[in-house]
């Protein structure tokens, strides 16, 4: 039972991230490969906030959101100039650069040594020490993300995001400020990704740069694509599948070296099969 709680925590943390990424990938149609870096910004904000300045979780959360938001504005404006695969490459570039900063700005992030000893969040004296209480916190945050995004996508803003995915130029000929809309969507998505990073950092209690390189971005990309583009429930389903799939393989008792590589093949195959035969993913509405 305890193990299922642990898996549920990982699922709810990753679903916050895949919901945020779906806003950019599924709704606005921008292939961003830099979200692992924002995942890292969230994690490092809390780690540095707690270990260096001894802030409590929620204060560090606020500062982290501001930092992630400002950086997202700069990167969002920069990425807004590109389209399609050039956008993907530019975002890959930003991820590598942010990763190098995590790795080499040693006096801030302790570089490759990482930051251990991140405490569990605490509010008015209550510490989320037990896994079950932490699960409630994560579930609350993922529910919050779901409702905010759900309501946001009902507004005209949500409509314009889908129109950007379809035909950006025609939309701007209607008089919309397309660049501002794209940047705002990127900032919102980055903030949710940072929140997910923060929760993971306080759960795993130790972070170092290796979890935030662009291979992770590719993993999150396939979570959203397999789950379903432009459908919030699809992202949650995608997260469940791609967290449980490698774990389920552990139980099949395959010879350990084959099992490990099998996981990679399954995950690559799922990506290709999805794009060939069901481009909108399980529950998605937008065919890529």
């Amino acid at each position: 039972m305890e193990y299922l709680i642990h898996i549920a925590i990982i699922i709810s943390i990753y679903s916050i991230l895949s919901l945020g990424l779906n806003l950019i990938l599924g709704y606005t149609g921008q292939l961003s490969l830099t979200h692992a870096a924002f995942f890292g910004i969230g994690a490092y904000a809390i780690a540095i906030g707690e270990t260096k300045f001894h802030l409590n979780f929620f204060l560090a959360l606020l500062i982290g959101i501001v930092v992630a938001g400002l950086l997202a504005i700069i990167i969002g404006i920069f990425l807004g100039r590109f389209r399609r695969d050039i956008y993907a490459l530019a975002s890959l570039g930003t991820n590598v650069i942010l990763f190098s900063i995590f790795l080499n700005w040693t006096n801030l992030t302790r570089g490759p040594l990482g930051i251990p000893g991140i405490r569990r969040p605490e509010i008015f004296g209550f510490i989320f020490q037990s896994n079950f209480s932490f699960l409630l916190l994560c579930a609350f945050f993922s529910y919050l993300t779901y409702t905010i995004l759900h309501r946001l996508l009902k507004t005209p803003f949500g409509l314009t995001l889908k129109a950007i995915r379809e035909d950006e130029d025609v939309l701007s000929s209607f008089g919309y400020k397309v660049k501002t809309i794209k940047t705002t969507a990127f900032v919102i998505s980055a903030i949710f990704t940072a929140i997910a990073g923060r929760l993971l950092a306080s759960y795993i209690t130790f972070i170092d740069p290796s979890t935030f390189d662009f291979n992770e971005s590719i993993y999150f990309l396939s979570v959203v694509i397999i789950g379903g583009l432009a459908d919030l429930r699809g992202s949650i389903l995608g997260t469940i599948i791609l967290v449980i799939l490698p774990e389920a393989l552990r139980f099949l008792g395959l010879p350990s070296d084959l099992a490990a590589n099998l996981r990679q093949i399954l995950y690559g195959l799922a990506l290709i099969m999805m794009i060939l035969f069901r481009p909108q993913g399980f529950l998605g509405k937008y065919k890529m």
Binding site: H6, I10, P112, L113, S210, P246, S256, F282
Partner: protein
């Protein structure tokens, strides 16, 4: 629309049932066996480490089980991949081992993974044995955390003393990998070298997946050091040595435990001939070590990629087996037994556990001579 949702939920349901039933049958059939979990990087760049850990563990358990196991109970190894030392995957693996397989003793590799999973094993009061993870920070990771690999600071102290006293080398250049192992070892080494009167004329960093070191080595060549220390994480050590020789750096090459592996010997070839490296007390002529290396080569028909990790894992399992036979399969008993280990003659040298649960072993200086790892005679 609803058809799709049903399909999605149905797929998830199968997954959960699958994991549930698979788990239960693990319990029934092997009720009486002792479970030891092993978390290692079986895929990705670190796979050679993972394979060494798997080899060392399997050979040890085969030997123990062939002699009837521990007090008649056979040992069962449960391998988990942590996807090239990924923290979240290690936490997933340790949670599964402790809570689903309720295995009270687990092996963990990669320093980052150890630091991320130590709080979980501490809380669950289960033993964590670390065969490969040498950063100093692990010493205070917890009282249920033990290491058969020696901490970097011990190795750095002995190596710099050896360089200063018996090799009489003063001007030293260092090139080291930019990850937790490399940076940690470099910090220890630089303090130790200056205390022993040595001087670091140039230090250069490189990123772990890099294969092109010519420019860093050119910088080093320019400061004409007396010796070049290579702190590498894997096979790139051989490529660094090769490129150094190609650039005309003829000085003595000195490596750390990760440099002294067969992989580096093959990658470096002639370039690493004569290079010395510090490692744990693996003494090739020592019967236990020789027997282990031959068993590995015979079982997997290739030479162990990182032999000191194979030896550390082998000793880890052996020590745990002795602890279980003495105190039974309960973590607290095993904990006290392990803290009391003194002068245990293992395949990786003579082990004494200190108060932090770190193995203290004499380090040894060894040499690579025409592709073989041999003991050093000057």
């Amino acid at each position: 629309m609803d058809k799709k949702i049903r399909v999605g939920i149905f797929a998830v349901a199968i997954m959960v049932i699958l994991s549930g039933c698979a788990q239960t049958n693990i319990d029934q059939s092997k009720k009486e066996n002792l479970k030891i979990g092993v978390v290692a990087p079986l895929t990705g760049e670190m796979a050679t480490w993972g394979e060494s850990v798997r080899g060392g563990a399997e050979i040890a358990v085969d030997e123990i089980n062939s002699t009837g196991g521990v007090n008649g109970q056979k040992i069962d190894l449960i391998f988990e991949d942590n996807f090239a030392c990924d923290k979240t995957a290690s936490v997933n693996a340790i949670n599964k081992l402790i809570k689903m397989n309720n295995s009270k003793i687990n092996l963990m590799t990669c320093s980052g993974a150890v630091l991320a999973t130590a709080p979980i094993t501490e809380q669950a009061k289960t033993i964590m044995m670390v065969p490969g993870g040498s950063t100093a920070a692990i010493a205070e990771a917890g009282d249920y955390v033990f290491r058969t690999t020696i901490s970097d600071d011990i190795q750095a102290k002995n190596l710099s003393k050896f360089i200063a006293d018996s090799m009489k080398i003063k001007r030293i250049a260092i090139i080291y990998v930019n990850n937790d192992y490399g940076v940690g070892f470099f910090n220890n080494l630089s303090t130790e070298i200056s205390t022993n009167g040595g001087q670091i004329v140039k230090s250069e960093k490189y990123s772990p997946e890099d294969t092109e070191f010519r420019t860093q080595l050119t910088n080093i060549k320019n400061t004409s050091p007396d010796a070049l220390i290579i702190i590498c994480y894997g096979k790139e050590g051989g490529t660094i040595a090769k490129q150094a020789r190609e650039l005309g750096i003829r000085v003595q090459l000195i490596g750390t435990d990760n440099f002294g592996t067969n992989e580096v010997a093959t990658a470096g070839g002639q370039a690493v001939d004569g290079a010395i490296f510090s490692t744990e007390g693996i003494d090739m002529e020592q019967p236990r070590t020789k027997h282990l290396i031959d068993a590995y080569t015979q079982k997997y028909n290739h030479v162990p990629p990182v032999d000191y990790v194979v030896a550390d894992t082998y000793d880890a399992i052996r020590l745990l087996a002795d602890a279980i036979s003495a105190r039974g399969y309960n973590p607290d008993g095993i904990k006290d037994y392990l803290y009391g280990v003194k002068d245990y003659a293992g395949a990786s040298g003579v082990i004494t556990m200190n108060s932090n649960g770190d193995a203290f072993k004499p380090t040894q200086i060894r040499q690579i001579r025409n592709g073989k790892l041999v003991n050093y005679q000057n």
